[in-house]
C-alpha cells in the first residue's frame, strides 16, 4: 500500500491499489490526482447528500469465492435517481466494481478483450456479442454525472464528470455495463448476486436499522 500526504491538509492518503489514480482526502475532502508519488489537488468534493446505502469504504465481501474490499466510491446521478459504484480490490491486487442500486447488487470486472460497440449503435433491446462471454441485451441507457466520490478510484472522478452508462443482461444473472466517458469507453462483465450471498462485513450502520 502506498501512503502519500494530502497537499492541502497533510493527512495521510492511502492507495491500496496500484490502479488508483485519484483519491479524495478523507479529512479535507480535497480531490487529488496522483502521478507516481505526487498528489495534485484539483478541487474539493462537496458533502454527500443523505444516502441510505449500507456499503462503505472498508466493507468486505465475497464474490465467486474471492474476498474483496471496498476502497473507493463513485456515486452517479441520472434523471430518475442515482446509483453507487464501489471500487474494490481483490486479494491478488486485481480490481473490480460493486454496483449498487435500490437493493440490487452486481459485481463486475473490467473486460478488455472486446471492441465495444459505438454509443450511437445501441438502443434498448439490442443485443451485443461479447464473443466467448456470450450475448448480452441492452436493458437501459442512461446519461449520468458523478455526484460524489470518496476513497481511491482508477480515474479522475471529479464531481460533474459526465458519462453514458449502458446496462446489459446476459444468461441468467449475468450482467454487463458499458461506460462511455469523454475520453474512454470501458466494458465490465459480472453478475447480480443477492445481498446475503456477498457475506458483507464492516457494513455501515444505518440509523434505526
Amino acid at each position: 500500500m502506498l501512503t502519500l500526504s494530502c497537499p492541502s491538509c497533510g493527512a495521510n492518503v492511502d492507495f491500496k491499489s496500484k490502479a488508483s489514480l485519484f483519491a479524495v482526502c478523507s479529512f479535507c475532502k480535497s480531490s487529488l490526482v496522483r502521478q507516481d508519488m505526487d498528489l495534485e489537488k484539483i478541487g474539493t468534493i462537496s458533502e454527500l447528500v443523505d444516502d441510505m446505502t449500507p456499503i462503505q469504504i472498508g466493507t468486505t465481501g465475497m464474490f465467486s469465492n474471492e474476498k474483496f474490499e471496498v476502497i473507493g466510491r463513485l456515486k452517479v446521478g441520472y434523471q430518475d435517481g442515482y446509483w453507487n459504484e464501489w471500487f474494490a480490490i481483490l486479494g491478488d491486487g486485481r480490481v473490480a466494481w460493486l454496483a449498487e442500486a435500490q437493493g440490487f447488487y452486481a459485481f463486475c470486472y473490467p473486460f478488455f478483450d472486446v471492441q465495444p460497440p459505438t454509443r450511437a449503435s445501441l438502443v434498448v433491446g439490442r443485443t451485443v456479442d461479447f464473443g466467448k462471454k456470450g450475448i448480452y441485451e441492452v436493458d437501459d441507457i442512461r446519461d449520468c454525472k458523478c455526484v460524489y466520490s470518496e476513497g481511491e478510484l482508477p480515474f479522475n472522478a471529479q464531481q460533474g464528470r459526465a458519462s453514458t452508462s449502458v446496462d446489459l443482461s446476459g444468461f441468467e444473472d449475468e450482467m454487463a455495463t458499458i461506460e462511455y466517458a469523454a475520453t474512454e469507453t470501458r466494458v465490465f462483465l459480472g453478475a447480480y448476486q443477492d445481498f446475503d450471498a456477498f457475506q458483507f462485513k464492516n457494513l455501515r450502520h444505518i440509523d434505526g436499522w
Partner: protein, 458 residues
C-alpha cells in the same frame, strides 16, 4: 462488524477506522413545507426517496428537485382509501424486516378492477411490494433475471401465453393497462397519479411472474402468495384485515389444497388403475375356463316344471368362480330358470335365477328387437368339490307349443371382469371427489382471468 442487516444493532460494536471517519449518524428524517399547501411534509428515507405525498393535500412532490416541484397537485383532497397496514409499520416477511413506506391503489383501466400495493423498504435489501387483492396477499420481488418463453426468444414477450423461469412454467392470467389511482407515503421513483403501464401476469400457484412495461422500462417481478394470517402477524394487525366474507374465493396464486391433493392423487390413481388392469388381464389369461357340466333338458312351452335335478359334477381348485350359462329357443317368448347349486358334501347352496327372453317386431320406426336367447351369471369364490343343480323352469308366450330343449352349461374358473369393474368404481371415488374439488378451486381462481382455461372461446 454489524449484526444481521435489518436487526437492531449496537452502534458501538462498529470498529472505528482511523482513515475513514464514521459517516454522520444523525437522524435522517427530513422535513419541509409542502409546495402546494404549506403543511409540513416528512421524508423518512431521503436519499433513497424521490417523491413523497403530502399528508394534508395529497399533492405528490418531487424531492430531488431543489424547489420541491409538484408532480401532481391535489389529486385527492380526502383520504379515499385507508391502508390495511398503516404507513411506517415494520414487519418481518421471508425472514427480513420491512417498513411500509408507500401505499398505492391501482386499477385495471378496462375493467376498473382495483387492488392495493404497499411499498416495503429495507436499506440493506432494497424494495419489495406487498399486494392486497380482495383479502389475498402477494409478496413481490423485482428480478433482474429474464424469463424465457417456451421457444426461448428473450424479452420481446408481449404475445406470450407461457413463460419459464428457473424450471417453473407460468401461464398467462391477465394482460392490461394498470393505472395509479391513489398514493400516499414516499416512493423511490416519481410516482404520477393517473400514469399507466402495460402489465402482464403469469401464474404458477403459489407464484406469479409479472411484467410491467412502457416506452422507457421493462420490469419483471416474482410474486409469492402470503397467508393473510402471516401478514397480520408480521405487521401486528391481527383482526384488522378485511373479514373473510370479503375474501372472495381462492386467491390468484393462493395454493389450493384440493389441487395439490389431486396432483398427488391423480397420477397415483392412474398408476393403480394401470396395475389393476394388468393384473386383471393376467388373471383372465390364466383362468382355466373348464366346462364342469353341460345339461340339455326338454320342456313343454308355456308350462312350469319343478324339481329338476341336474347330475353331479366336479368343481376343481380350492376356490374359483363358476359361470352358469343358459340357452333357450326363445322367439317373441320367455324362458325362466330358478334354482340352486348345492355342494353334495357340505350342503352349502348357491341360489340363482335367470331368464332368457327375446322379442322383435316392426313399428313406425322400423324393425326392433330386444333381449337374447342366452343368459349367464357368475358365482364367485365357490370352493372345490362335488355339486349338483336343482332347478325349476317356467316359460311363456311361445306360439309353437311342441316340446323343445334348453341347455345349461356350468363352467369353472372363467375369466371374470365383474369384480374388476366394481374395484375400478370404488377406487375411483376418492380421486373423482378430489378432481371435483380441484376443479371448483381452479374455476374460482381463473374466474377473473381473460385467459380462463375453464371457459371455451367458442
Amino acid at each position: 462488524m454489524v449484526g444481521n442487516p435489518g436487526e437492531p444493532e449496537q452502534p458501538d460494536e462498529k470498529p472505528v477506522d482511523p482513515t475513514t471517519p464514521p459517516p454522520p449518524s444523525k437522524p435522517k428524517v427530513k422535513t419541509f413545507s409542502c409546495t402546494a399547501c404549506g403543511a409540513p411534509v416528512t421524508i423518512r428515507y431521503p436519499g433513497a426517496t424521490m417523491s413523497v405525498v403530502c399528508d394534508s393535500c395529497h399533492s405528490v412532490i418531487d424531492v430531488t428537485d431543489k424547489n420541491y416541484e409538484i408532480l401532481s397537485k391535489y389529486f385527492s383532497k380526502a383520504d379515499l382509501y385507508t391502508p390495511t397496514i398503516p404507513l411506517n409499520t415494520r414487519g418481518k416477511l421471508e425472514g427480513k424486516t420491512w417498513e411500509v413506506i408507500g401505499f398505492m391503489v391501482r386499477s385495471d383501466v378496462a375493467s376498473k378492477y382495483y387492488w392495493m400495493e404497499y411499498l416495503l423498504f429495507n436499506p440493506y435489501y432494497g424494495y419489495r411490494f406487498l399486494t392486497e387483492d380482495k383479502g389475498h396477499w402477494i409478496f413481490v420481488t423485482m428480478i433482474k433475471r429474464k424469463p424465457d418463453n417456451k421457444a426461448g426468444i428473450g424479452t420481446s414477450i408481449t404475445g406470450l401465453s407461457r413463460v419459464q423461469l428457473n424450471d417453473r412454467v407460468y401461464r398467462i392470467y391477465n394482460r392490461g393497462l394498470s393505472r395509479v389511482d391513489y398514493v400516499i407515503g414516499e416512493f423511490y421513483w416519481r410516482v404520477v397519479v393517473g400514469s399507466q403501464v402495460t402489465s402482464v401476469d403469469y401464474i404458477d400457484p403459489p407464484e406469479m411472474l409479472s411484467n410491467e412495461y412502457d416506452e422507457t422500462e421493462n420490469i419483471w417481478s416474482l410474486g409469492k402468495h402470503v397467508d393473510t394470517k402471516e401478514v397480520e402477524k408480521a405487521f401486528k394487525i391481527e383482526g384488522k384485515t378485511p373479514k373473510s366474507f370479503y375474501a372472495s374465493g381462492i386467491g390468484v396464486i393462493e395454493p389450493s389444497r384440493a389441487t395439490a391433493e389431486w396432483k398427488k392423487m391423480g397420477p397415483l390413481w392412474a398408476l393403480f388403475l394401470g396395475f389393476l388392469t394388468c393384473a386383471q388381464i393376467f388373471f383372465s389369461g390364466t383362468a382355466k375356463n373348464t366346462i364342469a357340466s353341460q345339461y340339455v333338458g326338454n320342456f313343454v312351452p308355456n308350462t312350469k316344471i319343478n324339481d329338476i335335478t341336474i347330475p353331479k359334477f366336479n368343481l376343481e381348485k380350492n376356490s374359483a368362480n363358476v359361470k352358469i350359462a343358459m340357452t333357450a329357443p326363445v322367439s317373441n317368448s320367455w324362458f325362466y330358470v330358478s334354482g340352486e347349486m348345492v355342494n353334495n358334501t357340505t350342503g352349502a347352496s348357491y341360489p340363482f335365477e335367470m331368464t332368457s327372453e327375446y322379442y322383435f317386431g316392426t313399428d313406425s320406426d322400423g324393425a326392433w328387437s330386444e333381449g337374447s336367447t342366452t343368459h349367464d351369471l357368475e358365482i364367485s369364490s365357490v370352493p372345490g368339490g362335488e355339486y349338483y343343480l336343482n332347478i325349476d323352469t317356467e316359460s311363456g308366450d311361445f306360439k309353437n307349443t311342441n316340446e323343445q330343449s334348453y341347455s345349461i352349461t356350468v363352467s369353472r374358473d372363467t375369466p371374470s371382469w365383474h369384480n374388476y369393474w366394481w374395484f375400478v368404481f370404488l377406487v375411483s371415488l376418492p380421486p373423482l371427489y378430489s378432481w371435483i374439488a380441484m376443479r371448483r378451486d381452479e374455476v374460482s381462481r381463473w374466474s377473473n382471468s381473460d385467459f380462463n382455461p375453464y371457459v371455451s372461446n367458442s
